[in-house]
Subunit: 279 residues, 2 copies
């Protein structure tokens, strides 16, 4: 395993951890201030959300690189299934935005169950059809697509992929070289088949997301834990992910009303300390 | 598959669906009124919670049988793992209560992660140790124990079993003839490996719990759907459960602030109609 106590170059900030930098979510720091604060603390990269980028994709990407860091990814395509699915043009625009930023990976959260259907199969068919249709375009833009399974609490309106196995099966159906999976502690920590599935995912893990699962989770969306504050076995999870050959960024993504109320400078300090010691 | 359109003898009420009959949860009907209302509508059985029974186990069991129904089970042992785990005496008392009621099955919700540990293995070791210690006593009382896996949203403080596979593995470790599993729609509807796991669970399914997963689930605990109002494929799930040889009761368990506000007589009417048509 990589030695994070000495080397924080794999550490990336997912800006959701600071409330996406937006007023009303977190303290509303401008993107430039976030970039500088991460660079000062030795972060290796940043992952943005579309809402922060607007028409400034290339400018923001260049700013990150000028600060000596990477843009490690963009969150995320519009939903591809369910009642709130985005249009083809909207999905394509998110791919273009990732390319403009210079982000190598665009995450896919699938969206929910297709209207008028029961169970998962009709929605998975629709998902596979839409991902296949966009994977080729994304490849032409130099962007890989990462299917992210979500904790089963998010079934119905947010996802139709609940395990890494579910996500890999969609990858297998499509077979595109720029399609893989993202592994997020919050979503997978409970899955005792994860290590076995990861062994089959060799070369297809495109992201690893850090947070923790709090013993008493009070809110489905906004009560993620900072690494070390919960019950997930973070070292064992990373060992399994790295065992699948993953050597990429480890992106801290903590959606939390608690952490959003704290000074972003302090939050970033805590992240670096926890990354070095408990991840 | 059994024909529920014509025969409701498999239908059981889990009293949680009426707010456990208690003031402050639901409309607070006395146990006797619930029993009579179920019998009038052709329910085959009732599953109670400990808090309703007190010292009246045998009296309530006899009342159910006098009304022509079965007591199909008791919810549940105290937690066996985690910060809120019950004592050995408390677990034994819940077994005695099930025996007193004449309930053939006592459900186990495991409790959460053991204090001071990470991941699941230390908690699963503790769980297996405690279940093994009680299974023999339960057998002597004529009570079977059903391990119920919960939706992964309940990790941390409520369960260390997240899939039917997890629960079966604990059964395999212990090997007691009166130990099996309970399958609840709310907890397992999303699991695409369920049918395959059920094929290995032949003879070990001790309960099947009906509700639905709402497309927009607003609350982790108290927003379950009535059958037919959500996105779970209830007929496919029952086909898989019956494919494992299960011919026992189908117990309606809907924890829901919405349904708890409605007249219990109306709720019971809806249950019977949905049981006949969508389950």
């Amino acid at each position: 395993m990589r030695d994070f106590a000495r080397d924080t170059s794999a550490l990336a900030l997912n800006t959701a951890t600071l409330g996406h930098n937006l007023d009303g979510h977190g303290m509303g720091w401008p993107v430039e201030r976030v970039i500088d604060a991460c660079a000062e603390r030795g972060f290796g990269g940043i992952v943005f959300w579309r809402r922060e980028i607007g028409a400034r994709a290339q400018e923001i990407g260049d700013r990150v690189r000028a600060a000596g860091m990477r843009v490690d990814g963009l969150c995320r395509t519009p939903y591809l299934t369910g009642r709130e699915a985005g249009t083809e043009a909207e999905v394509r625009a998110s791919i273009d935005m990732a390319a403009g930023l210079g982000a190598p990976v665009l995450t896919i959260v699938t969206g929910g169950t297709e209207p008028g259907t029961l169970g998962l199969e009709p929605s998975l068919d629709r998902l596979a059809e839409r991902v296949a249709a966009h994977a080729d375009y994304a490849a032409g833009q130099g962007v890989a697509l990462a299917l992210e399974p979500l904790n089963p609490m998010f079934g119905g309106n947010r996802t139709v992929l609940f395990t890494l196995r579910d996500a890999l099966e969609v990858c297998d159906r499509i077979g595109a070289p720029n399609l893989g999976v993202a592994v997020d502690v919050y979503h997978v920590w409970w899955d005792r088949t994860l290590a076995a599935t990861l062994r089959e995912a060799r070369g297809r893990v495109l992201g690893y997301h850090l947070c923790d699962w709090l013993e008493d989770t009070a809110h489905m969306l906004l009560d993620r834990g900072m690494m070390g504050d919960g019950v997930a076995d973070l070292k064992a999870l990373r060992a399994a992910v790295e065992g699948a050959g993953y050597t990429g960024p480890c992106e801290v993504e903590v959606f939390s009303k608690h952490w959003w109320q704290r000074d972003p400078a302090e939050v970033l300090d805590v992240i670096v300390e926890r990354f070095r010691t408990v991840c």
